[in-house]
Point group: C2
Chain length 245, copies 2
């Protein structure tokens, strides 16, 4: 029995997100499992580090699976990339310790959200950015971002209203970088609730537009009410960059 760890890149535009759902074939997980099952001649289920939303992308998603084979890493890598659709790539296959689990052992994750802040479109990367034509005040956004750092109950920043488990998470870093006319937000945390990055980004955008104030953030967090936070920014700008173990 070998435990294989995969590092995966995808352009999520055409897919219903990472996670296979019943008969829904059109997921990243489903596509990879189909190729692996054919390669190994037995049904394979892979464990992802977590879901990504429909339309969101990944630069370094991690998954693992156990299989009764000793197939070399290079052989598997080559086969996967030969048969996967062109918008999904496996960049590394590695045999890892029997005990490694892609989801349970996550220490932190890093997401990036790309805002194209211009009324001139980004014609080359339109599937990877969210276009905002109103000029955003980045200083306000940076000021607001600081309030999210550290340990908080992020219930107000979660789309799942019936979340029964803890909604407390720790954000280690929020970095807002300006690459004129792009605004790139990078967020690292120990875990993320459903739509949490997109709601934080939507809130920062509303603050950058002057519709909300940086100093409103503490009350949003404390109030734990989704209605006080900003809108859910669309998935196209979102990329799971790295999963740290």
């Amino acid at each position: 029995m070998t435990n294989y760890r995969l590092t995966i890149q995808y352009l999520g535009t055409r897919y219903n997100g990472w996670q296979r759902q019943g008969n829904t074939e059109n997921t990243i997980q489903g596509k990879i499992e189909a190729v692996l099952s054919r390669l190994l001649g037995t049904p394979i289920e892979i464990i992802g580090s977590g879901r990504t939303d429909a339309g969101a992308h990944a630069y370094g998603q991690i998954a693992n699976f156990h299989a009764e084979t000793d197939m070399p890493e290079e052989t598997m890598l080559h086969y996967l990339n030969q048969y996967l659709p062109k918008d999904i790539a496996v960049t590394e296959v590695k045999k890892v310790s029997e005990r490694f689990h892609s989801r349970f052992h996550v220490k932190s994750k890093t997401y990036q959200y790309r805002i194209w802040n211009s009324d001139i479109s980004n014609v080359f990367e339109k599937q990877l950015v969210y276009e905002v034509t109103d000029k955003l005040d980045v200083d306000r956004m940076k000021e607001a971002a600081l309030y999210f750092l550290g340990e908080h109950d992020f219930r107000a920043f979660c789309s799942n209203r019936r979340m029964k488990k803890s909604t407390v998470r720790v954000l280690y870093e929020i970095h807002i970088e300006v690459l004129e006319p792009e605004i790139r937000i990078t967020i690292t945390g120990n875990g993320f609730l459903y739509n949490m990055v997109r709601i934080i980004v939507g809130t920062l955008i509303e603050i950058g537009m002057g519709e909300k104030n940086p100093s409103d953030v503490p009350a949003m967090l404390a109030g734990k009410d989704r209605r006080n936070a900003g809108f859910t920014a669309p998935p196209g700008g979102l990329m799971l960059m790295e999963v740290e173990y």
Copy 2:
């Protein structure tokens, strides 16, 4: 009468190239003329610096047109970007001297060709690169590139067999840059024949694969026979970067 100069970006994937051809609406030129004609209430014809192939892209294509209006540059820029498809953008509108002509006054043009040399796909930019899985020997390609520099009759590197005008052109620069696993070829010259960049790149790829030798290039040029040069690399990797006046 005002002479307007436009700087244009496009992802060429969906279009039949730059140049409007009779009733073929699906060209970059056609799309821009349609929006301008509606804006100015009179049929507008624009003059491009030159054609680009179906499926090829531009970062800085230049065009100009004369019109009986004094509309401010900003107004025109805004209107164009509002009504053009999302894969065409006008990045600058500038009122220029009455005598400026986008095609006649070109001093040089710079093209870039992006080769993705890996069996792991570039999932995020697949419309912008040409994927070559066989490992290319870049040193051989760099050696070969030197032979193209300077003034030559490029008849062997032209797809138009009935070209009656001069096929002599001057290449000022060919730069081959490795951004592992990408190989980026940048070519500047005083003018380019039909498919010339793509045939030079196809020849360099065959040399990088070992199918042809760097020292074969002088004979290809001297022989003036298209059949001695390499294949025509596909248009998706090609981008018109800049037109110099």
